[in-house]
Symmetry: C2
Subunit: 345 residues, 2 copies
Amino acid sequence: MKLENDLLLRTLKHEQVERPPIWLMRQAGRILPQYRALRGSLSGFKELVSTPQLAAEVTIQPIDELNVDAAIIFSDILVIPEAMGLDYEMVEKVGPSFPTTITSLQQVNKLESGAIAAERLEYVYEAVKATKKGLNNRVPLIGFSGAPWTLLAYMVEGGGSKTFSKAKKLLYQEPELSHQLLSKITDTIIAYLQNKIDAGVDVVQVFDSWAGLLSPAHYKIFALPYIEKIVASIKRVPVITFAKGAHHAIPEISEFETDAIGLDWTIDASVVKSYIGDRKILQGNLDPCLLYAKPEEIEQSTLDLVKKFESKHIVNLGHGVYPDTPLDGVKTFVNTIKNYSYTPS
Amino acid sequence: MKLENDLLLRTLKHEQVERPPIWLMRQAGRILPQYRALRGSLSGFKELVSTPQLAAEVTIQPIDELNVDAAIIFSDILVIPEAMGLDYEMVEKVGPSFPTTITSLQQVNKLESGAIAAERLEYVYEAVKATKKGLNNRVPLIGFSGAPWTLLAYMVEGGGSKTFSKAKKLLYQEPELSHQLLSKITDTIIAYLQNKIDAGVDVVQVFDSWAGLLSPAHYKIFALPYIEKIVASIKRVPVITFAKGAHHAIPEISEFETDAIGLDWTIDASVVKSYIGDRKILQGNLDPCLLYAKPEEIEQSTLDLVKKFESKHIVNLGHGVYPDTPLDGVKTFVNTIKNYSYTPS
């Protein structure tokens, strides 16, 4: 079925487009009053993630409310560790917490992985199907996964951390164990993303949220090879790779079979353009805090951004939108792009 | 008086040296059993900071225990906001907390600044004098300050934060107020560092700990001009500027009157060398988590590091040493450098 709005897909195919597509990381979430109303009626975040009809509902909310050019399935990167056998809780105002963390090879050996682990995430695939039905071909649907290093970081650290020094310590002290864990995570991600594509997602994004914590040397050893394997495994839909904070790794990521590269807001687009040229579509990269500014400044900075990228660009923030962002700021951002044209008449 | 070990000062003067000097950010602190013993006997962190004899004692501990090439005065970057009239508490296992935060121009106008604020930090200058006496010319003493953006961040946010989105919001919503606050902080830092130099510090380091949270555009507007002013004001001793996470700003910082530039561990030294050449001394930049590794790996990575920098280098981590770092790891790191020679016979 042809999509009514296929701007994102055409951009990812390097076609000439009339304007850049726009969506926001975390667009389905607390910025929307509809989300807060639904979320308030539920027992917790995980109920929302694991109930396909509810996940589909919140995935579609920003399409109705913001009129963005893509939906992204409402889910959590930590469903993968859970499917592998490592349960977690989502603690209100604290974040994820793993009662058991990975410290030994014995534990790694016991983890489920690959297709068998991915099978346990049927509720995500059902959510994808329900979302596709609800979207009714209005816009493409993005599926996603955390990247292996980021998932290892949570599985070893046990929750959020400023430094993730426990997880980084494992890389230094137990490199073999780390690689075995990363391999199992990678196999699971690959099976998971294939199932998501089977279920109907049109694009896939890989989030390496904690990429910025590793040294360039460790990122080359413990992160990039696994990301490369994942993006190479995805043949049927375009892939966006977002390694937040890993400014040093963009040249290497640009050699991967990824269609697009996400940029965080600390990176100057013109620097990346200078060595990537038009080889890859770039996504990003406004400071999420810009959306707190006055409408005129949001509009001006957004226009400056699209001019800087020129083309081959998916407009987004350089990080997930912050939960307390005013809805008006988000709408100004989106509408500035919807009213923009690469070829003004 | 001539220092017994003036390796750091000779390096900062671009003299040919036999090996690079080494010290660690946060070397005076929890990594040392002597520190933990003293700290355990006190009411809190602030008692240690505000009691000159105690601050001097812990400043000297790493010289005795680790034999590093410089001491850095034990203090806290938040003494400046406090001297300006904004009190804070140091909450055990949580971090700093400001009961009142800056939200209005009226509050900014009421803040003390410059020489008058700096006068209130007599206890720091006394600690510097006591340390100089205790060091007895063994090694140089580094004095430091937080950079204006980092101090504003705490004064507006009220404590640590993953995003400092409240502080960043102020920059977007109240740029004039932000500049007035940054100016007052800058004037205070300048007076404070002059007083520290009067009291005897041999080198000064400016820490912009939260530099990495700003976009390149905001960093140019709200951080760099103030840092430039501060480093230009320091004529009598060498200055090291460390803007953690601001990889994009290093070319601009290299145009300032700073003698050295600190690099965090996400930056490849050879990239920086490629555009700075020998114009500035570079400091850093091993991953703090390397010190959790086996001795052979610490040694090898440290040797790889000095070879990468070649010369004009102050060896350090790319961030403050983490409190749970094994003392043996720290010693291996330090001793590898103490036994190294630029010109092997």
